[in-house]
Assembly symmetry: C2
């Protein structure tokens, strides 16, 4: 039976392990695609249009917003980034699952435009573990890490707006749990084409 795909939105504090979990689950799910962002940032060396990003001018980005072609968008150090709605909808129509990680503000915008998406919140197991992971990265000063922890505590309050949560205590277990969630969503009655399903039972009582 033909089934439509869906969008999986993964949020969680910096240091929760969103990328590691997505990368671990990626090869285990058929028809899983990463969402590709649109940005006003110029391409870096080696970056390919339509693979790494969709590169657009400021005017083109304005036009995408005006035409309601973005599921969400935000600015980051002088450039704008967004999630193109058409790309996601095309993938879903083709029966693919699209996965993306995004902060709670982006997720909130997506929830408005696409409430049928699946929203997953990834958590570090404890405050101590989160602090350890952020410190081990070695890329930030103590004060910046304090700020990240503070921000994480605020972000966590948004978990009630998500469908699922995963505690990333152990990468392989967290990835397995995300896999269960994605696979189970394929079985949702609300995602099936009821007309397709009706074909199954046509004539069941007529023999």
């Amino acid at each position: 039976m033909r089934r439509k795909g869906f969008l999986i939105v993964l949020s969680g504090p910096s240091g929760a392990g969103k990328n590691s979990v997505m990368n671990a689950v990626f090869p285990t799910i058929p028809n899983l695609k990463y969402s590709i962002s649109v940005t006003t940032r110029p391409p870096r060396k080696g970056e390919v249009e339509g693979v790494d990003y969709f590169f657009r001018t400021e005017e083109e980005f304005d036009e995408l917003i005006r035409q309601d072609k973005l599921l969400e968008y935000a600015s980051f150090v002088g450039y704008r980034y967004g999630t193109p709605k058409d790309f996601v909808l095309e993938q879903i129509a083709e029966g693919n699952t699209v996965i993306m990680d995004i902060d709670i503000h982006g997720a909130s915008q997506i929830r408005e435009k696409m409430p049928e998406a699946v929203f997953v919140f990834l958590l570090p197991p404890t405050r101590e573990e989160l602090q350890k992971r952020l410190t081990l990265r070695g890329s930030e000063a103590e004060e910046a890490i304090k700020q990240r922890l503070q921000k994480s505590a605020e972000e966590l309050k948004n978990i009630i707006h998500y469908d699922y949560f995963i505690i990333n205590d152990q990468l392989s277990k967290a990835a397995e749990q995300l896999r269960h969630i994605i696979m189970s969503e394929w079985s949702r009655v609300s995602r099936v084409d009821i007309e397709e399903l009706q074909k199954l039972w046509k004539g069941w009582g007529n023999s």
Copy 2:
């Protein structure tokens, strides 16, 4: 983190393979329990109270109904059968998942009393396959099989009231899919004790 369990209700036409799928998934899920029915039928040889059934008199059964202690009940060849609410609630409170198979009418009663249960509809892959399975059982005449097929076609229309559906084309795959559903339901934000979750982030911003 302590999590509450939940009730999984499995329906599907006779011949869909409900028992085979439940038995296949049972050893793969921790804390999974079968629901135990209450009945007015006398115990058969070897049947144990509280294991096979809760055996009750007609008067006791009436009292269970009056006190709203049954999630559903129905009559079958002169005896009454029901699902005791307290048993299910106790298991859930202890963090167990309770699984049961029941027809669409019983499921509909449970949905009224326990909308937070998880409702799964199991389907045979095709009409031909269902007919073949019913014929292979060898226990019923052609006319009875015709009636079962007719009834299945009617039952299938109720699939829209279920959360998930599984097409039982291959037993191992159907069991795996039920496993994904049960495991993913453990990650539902709506099932977690938010107070327990809050303990996680207490003090995250205070160091």
